[in-house]
């Protein structure tokens, strides 16, 4: 379970001035939910997602993951927790260009894993097959389309069997058809694995894929905590 309690995030602009990206957000996400956070650009939704994963420190408030305050942990403990419990899908192309599809997918296991080498190989191949890229194991990112790259990112996010999948505008760089394919993939994963998904998007039409929608504006939740 993810619990954010009265989170504020200010970014310093220098010379004593700052801007508030998130203003006193409290949110609870239960296991198995597919939460879609919508909002315009600059509404604070990406910052909220980063705060949820401990990728940036809140100015005030607490972030609890399964009851553990992320910012009470050391960098090592926090990284371990992130590696084991959270999978990430980013808005931008996030595959390492010097690694093949297979190597990118097994990358999270370099940092922490419960699997042995044979299991790592087996799981990576299974996930790559599941996202429909079984033929592209040794291809490099530059040899894939944007949609294929995003599928590899999803496979990578699932490699360490996380409890939560965080997706930051995962379809914003894709054409409409590929966007729907990726969203179908998310829905299938949610239904088949029961994984908790928190997805940020500015496309309202995608809200229907989730089990709950939250709308953000100017760093606050303006419409949320209702189930679709």
């Amino acid at each position: 379970m993810i619990k954010l309690d009265d989170i504020i995030k200010d970014y310093s602009l220098g010379k004593g001035s700052s801007v508030s990206a998130v203003r006193g957000v409290s949110l609870q996400i239960n296991p198995g939910e597919f939460v879609i956070i919508v909002g315009r650009s600059g509404s604070g939704k990406t910052t909220l997602l980063n705060l949820t994963a401990g990728l940036t420190r809140p100015t005030s408030g607490t972030v609890l993951l399964d009851g553990i305050n992320l910012w009470s942990l050391s960098d090592k403990q926090q990284s371990h927790l992130r590696s084991q419990k959270i999978g990430f899908v980013f808005q931008f192309p996030s595959l390492l260009p010097t690694l093949t599809v297979y190597e990118n997918v097994v990358l999270p296991t370099v940092f922490s894993t419960k699997l042995n080498p044979a299991q790592i190989s087996e799981r990576a191949k299974l996930l790559i097959n599941q996202v429909g890229l079984g033929e592209k194991l040794v291809a490099f990112p530059r040899q894939l389309s944007a949609g294929q790259q995003q599928r590899v990112v999803i496979a990578r996010a699932l490699m360490n069997q996380p409890e939560v999948l965080l997706a930051d505008e995962p379809t914003s760089n894709l054409d409409e058809r590929t966007e729907l394919e990726i969203m179908d993939l998310f829905r299938d994963l949610h239904l088949s694995l029961g994984i908790t998904i928190v997805m940020v998007t500015h496309t309202r039409q995608l809200v229907s894929y989730g089990t709950r929608a939250i709308e953000m504006a100017e760093g606050r939740i303006v419409n949320g905590n209702h189930r679709e």
Binding site: N50, T56, K76, T98, V106, F111, A157, N160
Partner: protein, 397 residues
């Protein structure tokens, strides 16, 4: 996959950047090692040459100081003479333990009667010598007979099994001395008797006769009594013997030492500039690379890498590039100095001797450590900066 494999993948995926960093490490290591090899080698050479001489003072005819240095260091043949009587005058000076005269000779240039052109030859008096004779007795328990010679380390027999032709006279190479890296390695030693025998027979056997002026010698080697003041002895010799110059062995090769010191200073300045520029260049490259890879490193942090891992991966890349560049530089440096040794000696104008394998390995190790240290030092600041960056901010750009 592990940290090392990730670093290797990154290196191979960024060949230009990797190439420039390796090149810097190559230059630092190669320059440092070449300089060390040459300067230490030259120092060793001079020390060994003085040890070989075994004298505290060498007395030569006035005005021949530079010639004797050139002969001993570079093997440039010289001929100069002074009265043999000087030996007795010098021996009579209090504070002198032993004196031994020497004759300095040279083979002919391009003559069919000499196997080797322009070779410096030293004839010694076996009754008084304290340079070659003790070495012979220690190693062979024997003296040199008539017609036998001892060669420097580079001297080899050219006529038959053990013979070398000098002025149409076949001498037998009995042994070779240890290398000194100086002209002594290309010189030959024999007794006065052999010298006079060659001279007498050269009248009929050689293209040109070897002339040794009667009652003449070239130099007198002096061993001072323990506790003697060498400067006072030199002054005494100057007073007692006319037209001679005593050279203290500690002052021997002074002009070469000054030349070397000047060269060393220049090289050190160039090396410091090269090192500084390399550090700045590598630092800039790593800063640019870290900046360019900010998003990528933010992603790695987001999927579970610790700050330490990011820091280590950047320094691992730096170390691998430093090792590759440094090792190549060192290999090329050792190879060049070995292959072009003679060319370097003639162009630099001073001798040098390659160090023993143990010392060479030590110098190679120091060269590698310097390359690793330099590259890691340059990469340290960018690595610290990027590893401490908030992943969310790193990914934002």
């Amino acid at each position: 996959m592990n940290l090392l494999q990730l670093a290797l993948k990154n290196i191979s995926g960024n060949s230009f950047r990797s190439g420039v960093v390796s090149l810097c490490a190559f230059l630092v290591a190669a320059f440092a090692l070449t300089t060390t090899l040459l300067m230490r080698g030259a120092e060793t050479s001079l020390r060994l040459a003085l040890d070989r001489l075994g004298a505290d003072i060498v007395v030569v005819p006035a005005g021949s100081e530079a010639k004797i240095e050139s002969a001993l260091l570079m093997g440039v043949p010289v001929k100069f003479w002074m009265p043999e009587d000087n030996v007795h005058k010098i021996a009579a000076i209090p504070g002198i333990e032993a004196v031994s005269p020497q004759l300095y000779l040279a083979t002919l240039t391009g003559a069919s009667c000499c196997s080797v052109s322009d070779m410096f030859m030293i004839a010694y008096d076996p009754l008084t010598d304290f340079t070659i004779q003790p070495w012979l007795e220690q190693n062979f328990g024997d003296d040199l007979r008539l017609g036998e010679v001892v060669g420097g380390s580079y001297i080899s027999a050219t006529e038959g099994d053990q013979n070398i032709k000098i002025y149409g006279y076949l001498v037998t190479l009995k042994a070779n001395l240890e290398p000194t890296g100086t002209g002594l390695d290309q010189s030959m030693f024999f007794t006065f008797n052999t010298a006079y025998d060659i001279a007498s027979k050269s009248a009929t056997q050689a293209d040109e006769q070897l002339v040794i002026p009667p009652d003449s010698i070239s130099a007198v080697l002096i061993k001072a009594a323990p506790g003697s003041d060498l400067y006072a002895l030199s002054a005494h010799i100057m007073r007692e013997v006319s037209d001679v110059t005593p050279i203290l062995s500690s002052n021997m090769f002074q002009s070469y030492r000054q030349q070397m010191t000047g060269l060393l200073k220049t090289i050190l300045v160039i090396m410091a500039i090269t090192w500084g520029l390399s550090i700045v260049l590598i630092g800039l490259i790593f800063s640019m690379a870290a900046n360019e890879r900010r998003k990528e490193l933010g992603v790695i942090r987001a999927i579970g890498a610790t700050r330490r891992f990011v820091f280590q991966s950047l320094l691992m890349e730096a170390s691998l590039l430093a090792f590759a560049g440094g090792a190549t530089g060192i290999a090329l440096s050792v190879l060049s100095v070995t292959i072009f040794r003679n060319l370097l000696i003639s162009s630099l104008g001073f001798p040098f001797l390659l160090p023993s394998p143990a010392v060479l390995f030590l110098q190679i190790g120091i060269g590698l450590v310097l390359a690793l240290f330099s590259v890691n030092l340059a990469a340290l600041f960018p690595a610290i900066k990027i590893s401490r960056q908030d992943p969310a901010i790193a990914m934002r750009e």
